[in-house]
């Protein structure tokens, strides 16, 4: 096992890693910017080194300063956490080259998965299904029609140069493909000066499902089921749960088998997450792979009873995976709510000092946070303040517990999205488990509509 681990991160994940290290008897080095001198990770670690001024590029992304900190403290491994340099192949390579251990997959894995196009090609070769569609630009309307008939409807035509919905058309029947192609292509030409189009299967109710994999450096690999991450706004996840209400045990087995086969094919090591798009018919398609510990890893931990960060450390130190696929079973249902320092309506960031704080507790409740009373939420970094994880022996219990715990939460001095989280957890679609990536927009639209209705009523009275 390592003697001393430097944690190249901040906030709750730095604390999470420090705690796992301490349980294993491993010394820790925290790094921090001048803005984070008062942070808990600085105080919890055995040693702390200030690596730069507040901007991330000068501190938490400052490879030279981080390497110098590892050198002066004699660390023998670096844990990158998530975000910052966690998926930076160049950083991982430097760490490897100077003879330190990068706690994560080999740098070549980071490099492969960092290139989204290359990753999809490689994963398709390894047996993962991709969203059906033309891989390149369509030659003409005839080709569009032929491919659309091949992959099945509905399909979506997208401008290669596109964005913002322009040059985009959803087509549900074969007879409409030609007209749609010509119209969208002309629109794209007018808008972007480029009429080239591509096409793929259109998913009406997309769900974001991801599989957790754990691999040692001796060829053993298991998966720890899926996480459902469809509650997101602008690709930022807000609420995650496991298991997914949309995934049956058969689907989980199938998804797990092909995921593990692909991971064996590339000899993946350490922990990682394979992201899938799940359509309304239960078909899933590979999107991308995350080669780091993820923000939402606690839901999997609570469901399977395994400490993923501890596993990361053990596996990076060369230990063998002692669990087999048969010995890991999902025992609980868990829900994570991300508490962000932001306006619950506009989602604008709300940094500042926390003047009053009460965190929920009790049975089946876990809070991962760096916050304390008088803690200053910095404007320089992301707005995540805490992760509230609630679990129970059924989805119903976990939901009731999450609502109860959100009701106990008090954060004063800054705005948080807790009111919005309460709304999500209480939403009828969420409660029924029948939701997809559009749910946040749907809830926001309803809030706007009810407000408009109330204003109208107030004017009328």
């Amino acid at each position: 096992m390592f003697k001393k681990v430097l944690i190249a991160n901040r906030g709750e994940i730095a604390l999470r890693v420090i705690r796992a290290c301490r349980e294993l008897g491993v010394q820790t080095v925290a790094v921090h910017s001048t803005a984070d001198a008062q942070s808990l990770h600085v105080q919890f670690a055995d040693e702390a080194v200030c690596v730069g001024p507040p901007p991330s590029k000068d501190s938490y992304l400052n490879v030279r300063a981080l390497m110098a900190a590892a050198e002066v403290t004699n660390a023998d491994a670096i844990h990158p956490g998530y975000g910052f340099l966690s998926e930076n192949a160049g950083f991982a390579e430097i760490v490897e080259r100077v003879g330190l251990k990068f706690i994560g997959p080999r740098s070549e894995m980071l490099r492969l998965m960092g290139n989204k196009v290359a990753a999809r090609e490689r994963m398709e070769k390894a047996g993962l299904p991709l969203l059906p569609g033309a891989r390149g630009v369509l030659a003409d309307a005839g080709e569009a029609e032929r491919i659309a008939n091949e992959i099945g409807f509905p399909v979506i035509l997208k401008a290669a140069a596109g964005g913002g919905g322009r040059g985009m058309k959803i087509v549900r029947e074969s007879v409409h493909v030609r007209r749609a192609f010509e119209g969208a292509s002309a629109e794209a030409l007018a808008a972007f000066g480029d009429g080239s189009m591509y096409l793929e299967r259109y998913v009406e109710e997309p769900r974001h499902i991801e599989m957790q994999v754990v691999a040692d450096e001796h060829g053993h690999i298991i998966h720890l089921g899926e996480r459902e991450c469809s509650v997101q706004r602008r690709h930022q996840k807000i609420v995650e749960e496991a298991p997914s209400p949309a995934v049956t045990p058969e689907m989980r087995r199938e998804m797990g088998e092909i995921a593990l086969k692909a991971m064996r094919d590339i000899r993946y090591n350490n922990v990682g997450t394979i992201e899938f798009l799940l359509d309304e018919k239960g078909r899933f398609y590979f999107m991308e792979m995350n080669t780091r510990i993820q923000v939402e890893h606690p839901v999997t931990e609570q469901v399977y009873g395994l400490d993923l960060v501890r596993l990361q450390l053990l596996l990076a130190a060369g230990e063998e995976l002692t669990r087999t696929q048969e010995s890991v079973v999902p025992r609980f249902h868990a829900i994570e709510c991300r508490v962000n320092a932001e306006d619950p309506e506009t989602f604008a960031p709300s940094p500042g000092t926390i003047t009053g704080l009460h965190q929920p507790g009790g049975y089946g409740v876990r809070v991962d946070t760096m916050a304390y009373e008088q803690y200053r939420v910095q404007p320089y970094y992301d707005s995540l303040v805490a992760k509230l994880i609630c679990w129970g022996d059924s989805r119903e219990v976990a939901l009731q517990r999450a609502r109860r715990a959100l009701g106990e939460y008090v954060v004063e001095g800054i705005k948080t999205n807790i009111p919005f989280l309460r709304r999500v957890v209480g939403d009828s679609r969420f409660q029924a488990g029948k939701y997809d990536t559009r749910i946040v927009e749907q809830i926001q639209a309803e809030i706007r509509a009810s407000r408009a209705g109330a204003e109208k009523a107030a004017l009328a009275s």
Binding site: Q27, T34, A37, Q38, L40, V42, Q43, F44, A45, D46, E47, A48, V49, C50, V51, G52, P53, S59, R64, A65, M67, A68, A69, E71, V72, T73, T355, Y372, E373, Q374, Y375
Partner: protein, 180 residues
């Protein structure tokens, strides 16, 4: 009174008996106790290559005192004690709060501090040396690169805060330069 114990650097020296070598937690506690009720704001004590710095800030607000900042049990040679939250204890800023004249030269990055260009050479400067603007004061070595740190203003070296060949972090005070 808020109090703060910070940055006891680990040296490469072998472990010595308590009382001569590494500072023990009890000794640190005793030191802090002795300072209570006095006007002393900073105490720096070196012994056998070990250095301890105790800095005492302004009284914290009652809310800050009540704040649940956990104090972790420190490991043998390194002591990272929990300062109270609040503005009183930013490490880089603390010396500036002292009413001493002159400017503080801080380390521009993490590395190892050297007072001389090579082990055989005399130090670049000593306390009392009058320096010109741009004159080399020390070297901070990071990843095998020797970076000379220069005086940004002319003056007389009034204090040298760091011992030769010890690690320094970003923003750590290295020298105080008084107007000559």
């Amino acid at each position: 009174m808020a109090r703060r114990v910070e940055h006891v650097e680990r040296q490469q020296a072998p472990e010595l008996e308590a009382g001569e070598g590494a500072f023990t937690l009890d000794e640190v506690k005793a030191l802090v106790k002795v300072l209570e009720g006095t006007d002393v704001t900073t105490l720096r004590w070196q012994r056998n290559g070990q250095q301890i710095v105790i800095r005492r800030g302004r009284p914290a607000a009652p809310a800050a005192m009540a704040a649940p900042v956990p104090l972790m049990v420190p490991h043998t040679n390194t002591l990272a004690a929990a300062p109270p939250p609040g503005p009183a204890a930013a490490p880089a800023a603390a010396p500036k709060a002292e009413p001493k004249p002159g400017t503080i030269v801080t380390s521009p990055f993490v590395g190892t501090f050297y007072r001389a260009p090579s082990p055989e050479s005399p130090p670049f400067v000593e306390v009392g040396t009058v320096v010109k603007k741009g004159q080399a004061l020390c070297i901070v070595e990071a990843m095998k690169l020797m970076n000379e740190i220069e005086a940004e203003s002319p003056g007389k070296i009034a204090e040298i805060f760091v011992q030769n060949a010890t690690p320094v972090e970003f923003g750590q005070p290295l020298f105080r330069i008084e107007p000559a």
